[in-house]
Amino acid sequence: MASVACFTFRRRELLNKMSSSNLELDLDRPNIEDYLTTDSIQEPRGKLRLRDLLDISPTLTEAGGAIVDDSFTRCFKSNPPEPWNWNVYLFPLWCLGVVVRYGILFPVRVLILTLGWIIFLSCYIPVHLLLKGHDKLRKKLERGLVELICSFFVASWTGVVKYHGPRPCARPKQVFVANHTSMIDFIILEQMTAFAVIMQKHPGWVGLLQSTILESVGCIWFNRSEAKDREIVARKLREHVEGPDNNPLLIFPEGTCVNNHYTVMFKKGAFELGSTVCPIAIKYNKIFVDAFWNSKKQSFTTHLLQLMTSWAVVCDVWYLEPQNMKPGETPIEFAERVREIISARAGIKMVPWDGFLKYSRPSPKHRERKQQAFAESVLRRLEDK
């Protein structure tokens, strides 16, 4: 009898301890259990029996389900196009298509791009060097030139971009956020308005472009692998947004490229700057080409070449209504709300995973939450008669 009494006391103590540590678990990210359906776990009732401890089938079912299909891997799956050229008359048509694409379109595009680069460099270098003293004029010209070279890039893929909504203007205390499919997102948006962007520093010729030309529009670099980097980047973001002369800042809060069928969780960095957030939704039409850049499978150069040998890049860009943080809303809730707006407009689904899980393991907090739920249920049912 005495042992049961002190058991009860310990249990109450334990439950109190669990509810305070719950706060800590919730602050960092939204509740994944809201998204993941737990149909297999019904709320068990009645006295705890041996069967309840032995029956690990719900947990096993979840594990089995994850092995068979999971929402995270689906986000980064590039669907190969269905082969349609297996017929007697379709195959020659397809061959003709290949000849046209590689033999006619590709050289023309390379020509256009080269022309664009020549024009750009011959204007940009003098402007950059000679107008060192006249900053305002220089910045204006450089902005125009960057927009020009981006237009050339888009032309080199025969890009058909439909812009919907009011054109963004440069105002202080505002940031733009968009869903991310490939680095070409930036080029497509840049040809309309010169944004400053925050990007991962890349190696090779892309890195060279980043450090020279993109510097002039005002870009911020981050490094995924550095832990302390987040604070430094947050500070740089804040400084940029406050400056009245800086170009409007474009941020891709997913932090990684996703296949344009899903959005992964937005990082809260862009949403805790105290500025207005203007969402932009981008949706590519897959019939012409799959614009998803699977950075693990191909380099950016290969990706560009693939685009240049396809028929066209067709996409829709929607500039959506600017959003402000509602009173009493946390940055995470704000981020999720904006993500919902963007996903709804682009017609893509949301998944509750952090994009950086591509590069690292999930934090043990998720497993702990499951363990906690089970432990609570066991202890509660031990009491039931």
């Binding site: 993941l36 029996r49 994850a66 999971d70 995270f72 891997t73 499951k370 432990a375 202890l379």
Partner: protein, 175 residues
């Protein structure tokens, strides 16, 4: 069956189907193969630890480590056999056997108190203390008519789990 080939012939499918006792349809086996190839990124013919743990939904499961020990280094045929317990066509006996294997980590056909304690620890983590777990388990065992030092075998598991039916099913997405 070639380990690095990514094309599955009809013969291969039938071989796999036989190996898993017809618990999966041919279409499901093709889907599972696509999934296997997707997970096996370096095309080594089996899925390594790293590749399994890169699926976040699997990595956050409390029993991931335990399952992982059972699934490590399996080729495709064995992979399908491993998952066959989750098919809707699997028998109750099969499912209970599967659960028994998860408990019986050393594979000697006996589940002792320590094995039960290990799984309970995986499921509850730090939220029940070591000193509490033992009495809870002992109490529940004794109420079911066993003793703390009883050794459970498969037939015991069948008796305990088999009475009310077991719901352990995963649907294989078929395009």
């Amino acid at each position: 069956m070639g380990n690095t080939s990514s094309i599955l012939t009809q013969y291969d499918i039938e071989e796999v189907q036989e190996h898993c006792n017809n618990t999966f349809s041919q279409q499901e086996i093709v889907s599972l193969y696509q999934r296997f190839c997707q997970l096996d990124r370096n095309s080594g013919g089996f899925i390594s630890a790293d590749e399994f743990l890169s699926v976040p939904e699997f990595a956050v499961n409390p029993l991931a480590q335990r399952l992982f020990r059972m699934i490590d280094g399996l080729n495709f045929k064995e992979f399908v056999a491993f998952l066959s317990a989750f098919s809707s066509r699997a028998t109750l006996q099969h499912k209970v056997e599967y659960i028994f294997k998860v408990y019986d980590s050393d594979g000697n056909g006996k589940v002792a108190f320590s094995d039960l304690l290990d799984v309970l620890r995986d499921l509850t983590g730090q939220f029940i203390s070591e000193q509490q777990r033992e009495p809870v388990l002992t109490q529940v065992l004794e109420e079911a008519g066993y003793k703390k030092d009883s050794i459970l075998v498969l037939s015991d598991f069948m008796k305990i789990l088999g009475s009310n039916g077991l719901k352990m099913e995963v649907e294989v997405p078929v395009d």
